[in-house]
């Protein structure tokens, strides 16, 4: 009889097998195998009850059932798009899900090719020739963009200029990433949701090492002067990093075309559900930064039969070889999410992806118009093109947010008078009900 009902359910040893193995090793008990000084031996219990699979599923289901069942109109950097069923099924195949980093490429061609395809999709969408095969999320990707800047900059600048309206959390992460460098973070002003170019132009000087801008912005507006931003950065001998996301990339101006030296952002908008903020950091850059890229890169090569084959490459950039001189400390990354994201892009195809991006603009416009028609609501607040989301002005935003929650809807209240509302295909059918609820709530 196996002992999987008494010890670890996943250790297959029967008592007799254990005994035989102990004998082969030459000890009498499992305890003898531990070379731990008496004074640090743990004699206690964690007080964690061993549970059956059925119990754990019931328990977690019940626990998560405590989450209210709300229809979310939430965004601000993290988005929900429909993930086709086949993506779940095939990404869950154990050959993908349970594999390790591809240190033995001969038996990891499948994942390597999928990551290579992911990189290629980002190359197409950004117009930049180098994309790595994942960072943790948009915030850490931005942090890595800053540390790359500190490594490649020959000029003297020490300032990373970011938008005033940057999500506070993203900025927080950036601050931690630059803490070990000579860089510091400052903001430039915004005007009606977008970069205030006049103010920015005044601010730009040789102290700026990196100019960061986003499109869509955290308030969902489309940045209209991307080329101008790139020009301002390059004129000041600074690098230009654009923050965006994988869906927007199919529609907005191509980053390479507007002078972006790096592109960061969220790629997991396709491939992950909301997942309480789990992400996939997008990172792409110009050719000349190749040896300074953080994270893993998959490259094509050939095998002994001269067939095309893939492998992790340029690993001398990485921590396991270069240690403290590595381009980043990242090791475990978000590979499996990158696989899913590539699958989602492939599932949409070029027409589907472009259509989805267009729907992000028209859906936001439609919903803003409908909300605007409600007495006591002004939307959108910014006179801009919006992508997925926009601000709505109401008398008492926190109060309206709470009322909407009571009615089954989640929106952002970003200050006393402004809600932020985000819509995609996953909540499109509920727009009408949101408007009805809003009528009651304001």
């Amino acid at each position: 009889m196996t002992n999987h009902d008494t010890g670890s359910p996943f250790a297959p040893h029967t008592p007799s097998e254990t005994a035989a193995m102990l004998a082969a090793v030459g000890v009498d008990s499992e305890e003898e195998l531990f070379d731990i000084p008496e004074n640090v031996l743990f004699g206690g219990e964690f007080g964690i009850t061993r549970r059956s699979e059925q119990s754990v599923i019931e328990e977690t289901t019940e626990l998560l059932g405590e989450n209210d069942d709300l229809t979310e109109f939430l965004g601000r950097g993290h988005y929900d798009h429909y993930v086709p069923s086949w993506v779940d099924h095939i990404a869950d195949r154990s050959e993908f899900l349970t594999s390790y980093t591809q240190y033995q490429p001969e038996i990891a061609q499948g994942f390597l090719q999928a990551l290579f395809e992911y990189q290629s999709i980002l190359v197409e969408l950004t117009g930049l020739p180098i994309a790595n095969c994942s960072m943790y999320d948009a915030a850490t990707a931005l942090g890595e963009a800053a540390t790359l800047t500190s490594r490649v900059r020959t000029a003297t600048g020490e300032t990373v200029l970011v938008p005033e309206l940057l999500d506070a959390r993203r900025r927080d992460v950036l601050e931690n990433y630059v803490a070990g460098t000579e860089l510091n973070v400052e903001t430039y002003p915004m005007n009606d949701g977008n970069a205030d170019l006049t103010a920015l132009e005044r601010r730009m000087d040789e102290d700026v090492a990196l100019l960061y801008a986003e499109t869509p912005t955290v308030r969902g507006t489309i940045e209209e002067q991307l080329s101008e931003l790139g020009r301002l950065a390059h004129t000041a001998d600074a690098l230009f990093c654009l923050g965006t996301d994988i869906v927007a990339l199919a529609l907005v101006e191509e980053p390479a075309g507007v002078g972006a030296d790096m592109v960061v952002g969220e790629a997991g908008s396709l491939g992950l559900s909301t997942s309480y903020g789990m992400g996939l950091g997008l990172f792409a850059c110009r050719e000349q930064f190749l040896r300074q890229v953080p994270g893993r890169l998959v490259g094509a090569s050939t095998d002994e039969t001269d067939r095309r084959a893939y492998t992790l490459t340029l690993q001398t950039r990485e921590q396991h070889i270069r240690r403290e001189r590595a381009t980043s400390n990242i090791c475990t990354n978000q590979a499996w999410v990158a696989l899913r994201t590539a699958m989602c892009v492939a599932s949409l195809g070029p027409d589907g992806l472009v259509e989805l991006a267009n729907d992000c603009v028209s859906g936001a416009r439609e919903l803003a118009d409908r909300l605007n028609a409600i007495d006591g609501v002004t939307a959108p607040v910014h006179d801009r093109h919006h992508f997925r989301e926009f601000l709505a002005r109401v008398a008492d935003a926190p109060d309206v947010r709470k009322r909407l929650e009571t009615r089954g809807f989640a929106v952002h209240a970003i200050d006393d008078h402004h809600l932020q509302v985000c819509t995609t295909e996953t909540n499109a059918d509920e727009r009408g009900r949101l408007c009805t609820a809003m009528e009651d709530a304001v």
Binding site: T6, P12, E17, V25, F34, D35, L41, F42, G47, I48, T49, R50, L64, N67, L74, R76, W86, R93, L97, T98, S99, Y100, Y103, Q104, I107, Q109, A114, E117, S120, P129, Y136, D137, A139, T140, T181, I222, E224, A250, L251, E254, T274, Y276, M278, G299, A300, S301, D306, R307, T313, Q315, Q319, H320, I321, N329, C331, N333, L353, N358, K402, A410
Partner: protein, 475 residues
């Protein structure tokens, strides 16, 4: 199965090679004015049956834990039970990170419970689950240590790291702005107390230690080590990569460690996903708790809203845009709950037994000992070649050529999930290679999906996208 090789040039065409279409962007159907859009997008354009076959074939060219043993040292490749996937797939598990706290009490309670479990398992007083990977945990822990020293008015500049430590330790310390002091290993493969005493100073912010270390050896002098570091005013950091060896046997907190990270994708069986996502929660002592990243979760008395997020008083801020890799954390919780005390304690027992048993069955020198959940064997041939040849025996080889304390190292960690028969077969694969001629070994693998790959050429002429590849093939 016969592999579907569409042609002689490649094993499976790229998506873009199967069918690719260029779509105009902008124009009359566009939701944005033309000057705000790109011109066109060129992407693969395939139907669902075509895509599922593509990826099913790719999966068949990939080795996972359900294909066979995966004894990568320090990687702890355990079986990943699928019920944790079911839990992560619950619709109620997917909420937006900006939900009001009142509306996500289930998520918050689960995070709280995980913080508690991890604290108990590591003997730590406070835990953050935010870091999205082990290296992110290291970075977080070192930032916490730095904040602690800063708060105490100490401007310490150095982090000491043993030679045999994981590369991430060095890189994380450097990322946090520290100078790295590399500590050569002692003759017994463990920390040399004299060398450590010589290395510490008032500049020492922390010593980062893996225990058991990468040779699988428990740092027997851990109490002395802790004293030396603490006496110098430094902190002791525990790299959780090898925690599976100690579950229920010893706790970093009890050994004097001040900060640690957990690799839930190792110790707690969340799947590696071909490189990630993982999660690297960080535990600290009471003294350091106020520096942890925001937000953490705590229990409250408020009725109907029993759990809340809070910002530790002198928090370092954030290391992830939201709450880290939540779905991974959820799987780790489910795994820990499934095993409980008895299962966790049995896991370390069987992990150590398996390593010792496997070592006893192979005809390789295994210097140093007694080792725990992993051992480092020394190959007589080039270790990388040996690994390639092991592929032909249908198994995943060990980690190779590291740590450097062992020549031609084969760093081997079978974990508790292998049965005796599989370990015997692994041993046969090890031993078979020793009997083979050099040519066989150097031209291995022969039986894998792809044959040996020219890594030098990949780095010499980087082709990192299908666009670059097409360009390269044109030339």
């Amino acid at each position: 199965q016969a592999r579907w090789t569409e042609d002689e040039d490649r094993y499976e065409p790229l998506l873009a090679e199967k069918r690719s279409t260029t779509v105009d962007v902008g124009g009359t159907e566009s939701a944005l004015p033309e000057d705000l859009t790109r011109d066109s997008v060129t992407l693969p354009d395939l139907s669902e049956p075509e895509l599922t076959r593509h990826y099913t074939r790719l999966s068949a060219m990939n080795y996972g834990i359900e294909n066979g043993p995966f004894p990568l040292g320090s990687c702890t490749m355990k079986y990943n039970p699928s019920f944790t996937e079911d839990v992560a797939a619950l619709p109620s598990a997917s909420v937006h990170p900006d939900r009001s706290q009142a509306s996500v009490q289930g998520t918050l309670e689960l995070l709280y419970r995980l913080q508690e479990y991890l604290g108990r398992i590591g003997g730590m007083d406070a835990v953050t689950v935010q870091p999205p990977a082990g290296a992110a945990g290291e970075f977080t822990g070192i930032l916490v240590a730095k904040a602690y020293h800063d708060a105490n008015g100490n401007d310490r500049t150095e982090v000491i790291i043993p030679d045999s430590a994981h590369g991430t330790n060095f890189a994380s310390a450097a990322l946090a702005g520290y100078d790295v002091v590399s500590l050569p290993g002692g003759e017994d493969g463990r920390v040399d107390l004299d060398a450590l005493s010589a290395a510490v100073s008032e500049d020492t912010a922390a010593l980062m230690l893996t225990n058991p270390n990468t040779l699988g050896l428990f740092e027997r002098d851990i109490t002395e080590i802790a004293d030396i570091v603490h006496d110098a005013g430094g902190l002791l950091y525990y790299d959780g990569a090898n925690l599976n060896a100690l579950l229920g046997r010893a706790r970093p907190g009890d050994m004097g460690f001040d900060v640690m990270h957990y690799n839930v994708h190792k110790t707690f069986a969340t799947p590696h996903g071909g490189g990630g996502p993982g999660a690297g929660p960080v535990g600290v002592t009471e003294e350091l708790a106020e520096f942890l990243p925001e937000p953490r979760v705590r229990q409250t008395d408020e009725h109907g809203n029993d759990f809340e997020l809070f910002t530790p008083e002198r928090s370092i801020g954030r290391v992830h845009g939201y709450q880290g890799n939540w779905l991974v954390l959820l799987k780790a919780y489910a795994y820990i709950a499934r095993l409980g005390d008895a299962g966790l304690r049995d896991a370390s027992a069987k992990a150590v037994l398996n390593a010792n048993y496997l070592a006893s069955q192979i005809e390789y020198e295994v210097p140093f000992g007694p080792f725990h959940h992993e051992f480092v064997a020394s190959a007589t041939n080039d270790a990388a070649d040996v690994a390639k040849r092991m592929l032909d025996h249908g198994v995943h080889p060990p980690t190779t050529k590291w740590p450097e304390a062992v020549e031609q190292a084969l760093m081997t960690e079978p974990t508790e999930i292998e049965n005796r028969r599989t370990l015997d077969q692994l041993a046969e694969a090890f031993n078979a290679v020793t009997a083979e001629d050099e040519n066989t070994i150097e031209t291995a693998p022969q039986r894998t999906a792809a044959r040996r790959i020219d890594q030098a050429a990949a780095a010499r002429t980087p082709r990192l996208s299908w666009q670059a590849l097409a360009e390269h093939d044109k030339q």
